[in-house]
């Protein structure tokens, strides 16, 4: 029997909003696909571009970066910096021929557990037809 492709998503969630949002989804017993591996970071602005590239290199099929809504950042402006940096990464990945669906960014607040589950559901749905990500996967 052929196994169904299950995409693996690495989600970088900021501690103050998105991670709390995913927690809320958990404690509220909302259902969402188990394909996501959350990594809590202190702020979306602290996500180095190296994290994203090495996630792809280590076999992630999709990468999600999530932070607080603009204006809500615990560190006042970290998510604004993140927005600029992620824009550049997204454009560059698209430019070298990585499917744009594979890399996404979202704003999820601590109260938006439902939104978080929706984002993951949609993300998995978008990744399924693309198949495994082998372009940047380490071939050492």
């Amino acid at each position: 029997m052929e196994e169904k492709f299950e995409p693996k998503i690495i989600a970088f969630l900021c501690k103050w909003c998105s991670s709390a949002g995913s927690d809320l989804a958990g404690v509220s017993r909302m259902k969402y696909p188990p394909n996501v591996v959350p990594i809590t970071v202190m702020c979306s602005g602290s996500i180095s571009t190296n994290y994203i590239l090495s996630a792809f290199k280590d076999g992630a099929d999709g990468v999600l970066v999530s932070g607080c809504h603009p204006g809500d950042c615990h560190y006042i402006k970290g998510n604004y910096y993140a927005r600029r940096r992620i824009t550049l990464v997204k454009e560059l990945l698209e430019f070298i021929g990585i499917e744009p669906e594979r890399f996404q960014m979202s704003w999820v607040s601590a109260a938006e557990g439902a939104k978080y589950t929706e984002i993951i559901k949609d993300f998995v749905k978008e990744l399924e037809p693309l198949g495994p990500q082998n372009k940047l996967r380490s071939n050492l």
Binding site: Y80, R84, T87, E91, L92, F95, S138, L140
Partner: protein
């Protein structure tokens, strides 16, 4: 067009006054039609200086070398060094000033305006001429280049062998200088990102195939990093050889050093290296084209940097190296930065 004699005269007077330690400029290479960098310390050496379309090098890199040399010296000569810069190179100085890597008094900038011309691209020249026959290339009148071969002189329209970056250049006049040679000539360009157009119409898969083919060639010689005026970090994220090992660095620390990029020149590591490099140069690259020129396997690295430049300009209205007082691209933000892609 600036005459070499003007440059010689200016450099002579600067050295006579003792304003600078030495001047970095261009001189003739006896074995080739290409110029080479020249380090002029004595007044009588200024006669070697030239200015022609083969002055492609970005001499700003030598400011970094000088800074390191100064740091090693016990009693360094604190006078500035003179650097001959084109419009693009002057923006590199601005970026270094912006990042507080150098101080304004460390350099004496001799700006040379390209006016309506620019420098040649070897690849284009090779297609038209047999390189071995070329003796010298000079600026001609009316935007022409005069190519002297053994058989005689040929005049060729500048656009035919002008470097792609010069055709797309907006800063033909240096933006920062102590002394400016040549005239400020306005040139209006609408095709600032012309070379990227061919990528707009192709599919994701074609883009991938293109870059896969190009980046798989990379042998990781790091020539692009060595020549880049912006790559001045003591320790590069891309290669753990340069890990700053001190006497008290333990074996454990060395082993635990994160290696974002492995040294092997395989596809995934090449992509990591070049993507990291492009991202680190975003908002800093001034398109001097040196990385592409030195690449031994001819990877079109300029496109990656140009793409970042395009996004910085179109999405954030930022151009590198115009104002050393402004914050850098990634250390600044606006409330209304585009965020359509964010869910």
């Amino acid at each position: 067009m600036v005459k070499p004699d003007d440059i010689k005269k200016e450099c002579k007077s600067i050295l006579e006054e003792g304003k600078v330690k030495y001047i970095v400029g261009y001189k003739r290479n006896n074995n080739s039609y290409m110029s080479i960098p020249a380090f002029i310390e004595k007044i009588e050496e200024t006669d070697q200086l030239i200015w022609d379309p083969t002055c492609v090098y970005n001499l700003v890199r030598f400011i970094r070398d000088e800074k390191l040399r100064k740091e090693r010296h016990k009693n360094p000569d604190t006078r500035p060094i003179g650097v001959i810069v084109k419009g693009c190179d002057s923006r590199a100085i601005n970026v270094l000033l912006q990042e507080k890597f150098i101080k304004r008094e460390d350099v004496y900038i001799i700006g040379v305006a390209c006016e309506k011309s620019g420098v040649i691209e070897k690849k284009k020249l090779r297609k038209k001429f047999n390189e071995k026959n070329i003796k010298q290339i000079e600026f001609g009148k009316d935007n022409n280049f005069i190519i002297a071969t053994e058989k005689g002189k040929t005049t060729i329209s500048a656009e035919e062998i002008l470097a792609e970056r010069c055709i797309e250049c907006n800063n033909n006049t240096p933006v920062i200088y102590d002394v400016l040679l040549g005239e400020k000539v306005e040139r209006s360009l609408s095709e600032h990102f012309r070379s990227l157009e061919k990528f707009e119409s192709i599919s994701t898969e074609e883009k991938w195939n293109f870059w896969k083919k190009e980046l798989d060639k990379c042998i990781r010689c790091y020539a692009c990093r060595s020549v880049c005026p912006m790559c001045y970090c003591d320790e590069c994220v891309a290669d753990s050889i340069s890990l700053a090992v001190k006497p008290d660095t333990t074996a454990e620390e060395k082993a635990q050093k994160i290696r974002w990029v492995e040294k092997s020149p395989v596809s995934s590591e090449n992509f990591s290296y070049h993507l990291i490099r492009a991202l680190h140069l975003a908002g800093r690259c001034i398109d001097c084209g040196e990385c592409e020129r030195v690449c031994p396997v001819d990877i079109p690295l300029r496109y990656l940097n140009k793409k970042m430049e395009k996004e910085a300009s179109e999405q954030f209205g930022y151009t590198a190296g115009l104002d050393p007082e402004k914050p850098a691209l990634v250390s600044d933000f606006k409330d209304d930065d585009p965020q359509d892609f964010i869910i």
